[in-house]
């Protein structure tokens, strides 16, 4: 039985918004409130390796109810089974940090915070990872000007970023 099937069986304790499979990939979409329940379930199922955390900004995409999707990838080292989890959240919402459970989540969450401005509650050191500390804005947000509001670039091509 695949991990997605066993998650769907436990729907009473873990509300899943949507699932889909694509060429062997398994994806579950959940709400922010059920993330920690899911992590507990995954740990008991043997998914001990958090491969990646990243995010997607769906600005102005009306088919998506929430602006951001934070994407987690887990790997079961015994069965080599993988699971992708997408957590939908609005601008300004925060997620519980997984940095205490998974060491690797520490820098991934800092990166997501740096690039998208999504904060993680309970993170030991939620500071910018890649850009400098007084960097204006979060560069991977779709409304961030591509050149960062560079004062030397032409003003008509991008809107200057106001800090």
């Amino acid at each position: 039985m695949s991990i997605l099937d066993s998650l769907l069986e436990k729907k009473t304790i873990l509300p899943i918004l949507d699932t889909y499979r694509f060429r062997g990939d398994q994806t579950a979409i959940i709400a922010p409130s059920s993330l920690m329940t899911l992590v507990d379930l995954l740990m008991s199922e043997g998914f001990h390796f958090l491969v990646d955390i990243t995010a997607v900004d769906w600005l102005d995409k009306s088919e998506n109810p929430a602006r951001f999707e934070v994407v987690y990838h887990w790997l079961n080292l015994d069965s080599q089974e993988r699971l992708r989890v997408k957590v939908r959240l609005q601008d300004g919402e925060s997620l519980p940090s997984l940095a205490i459970r998974f060491k690797t989540a520490d820098w991934y969450e800092r990166e997501v915070y740096d690039m998208f401005g999504i904060s993680f509650e309970g993170h030991p050191n939620l500071t910018r990872l890649l850009t400098w500390s007084d960097f204006p804005g979060h560069p991977l947000r779709k409304d961030f000007p591509l050149d960062g509001g560079d004062p030397f670039c032409m003003s008509d091509s991008t809107t200057p970023f106001t800090h």
Binding site: P139, P151, F152
Partner: protein, 215 residues
């Protein structure tokens, strides 16, 4: 041997001598610059694919040693021609300034490739849009990456430039940069900023003053 031929005419009189080719009269600028242009000591500041192309420039096929730029040094203290080869990010900016400051005078900079010259295709928040905003550049070599011939042509252009410049002009040129470096350090210590933040601050100020560079 020479002295034996000198006729003794009087204490203060110059001897009337025909030295033929033994003496050349010239200006100080041109003799010093002639020496400088033919003994450039390159230092690669390689950050991207231009540095890979530069390897073949220095290797036997294109062989930059034919132009006197033979002894490549990886220490700024031992070099006087910096080749900035590749994309320079905003975070790299203070390092580039420090390395340029550490180079032996007189010093020249060749900006190789579009990334170093103008940010190139990387018009993003992370990339410095041209190193000439933070350090003085003498020659720009276009290309992505430029062919080895272009880089050699760039060095030849620099040689032409060195030939023409006066010694005092070069000094003023570098002094302006040192003043901006002092200002950067002042901003860093006064506002408790990192070098990178101080440079961003200076760039914003320069843009406000409608100046293209921070030095």
């Amino acid at each position: 041997m020479l002295w034996a031929k000198v006729p003794l005419i009087g204490k203060n009189k110059m001897p009337d001598l025909n030295l033929n080719d033994a003496v050349v009269t010239t200006r100080l600028d041109s003799i010093v610059n002639w020496a400088r242009k033919n003994s450039l000591w390159p230092m690669p500041f390689g950050t991207a694919c231009c540095a890979i192309e530069f390897m073949s420039v220095m290797a036997s096929k294109y062989d930059m040693s034919r132009f006197g730029a033979e002894a490549m040094r990886f220490s700024p203290r031992q070099s006087d021609m910096m080749l900035v080869l590749g994309t320079v990010t905003n975070k790299m900016a203070p390092i580039l300034r420090t390395i340029y400051a550490q180079m032996a005078e007189p010093k020249w900079v060749i900006s190789v490739g579009v990334c170093a010259s103008s940010g190139g295709m990387y018009r993003t928040y992370a990339t410095l849009q041209g190193i000439d905003r933070i350090i003085p550049v003498d020659v720009y070599v276009p290309g992505c990456p430029p062919r080895p011939e272009s880089m050699i042509y760039g060095v030849m252009k620099l040689q032409e430039k060195i030939e023409k410049e006066s010694l005092g002009m070069r000094k003023d040129h570098v002094r302006r940069f040192y003043e901006s470096l002092d200002l950067q350090e002042k901003i860093q210590s006064e506002k408790n900023l990192t070098g990178q933040q101080a440079i961003q601050h200076m760039l914003r100020q320069a843009a406000h003053d409608k100046v293209a560079t921070i030095f």
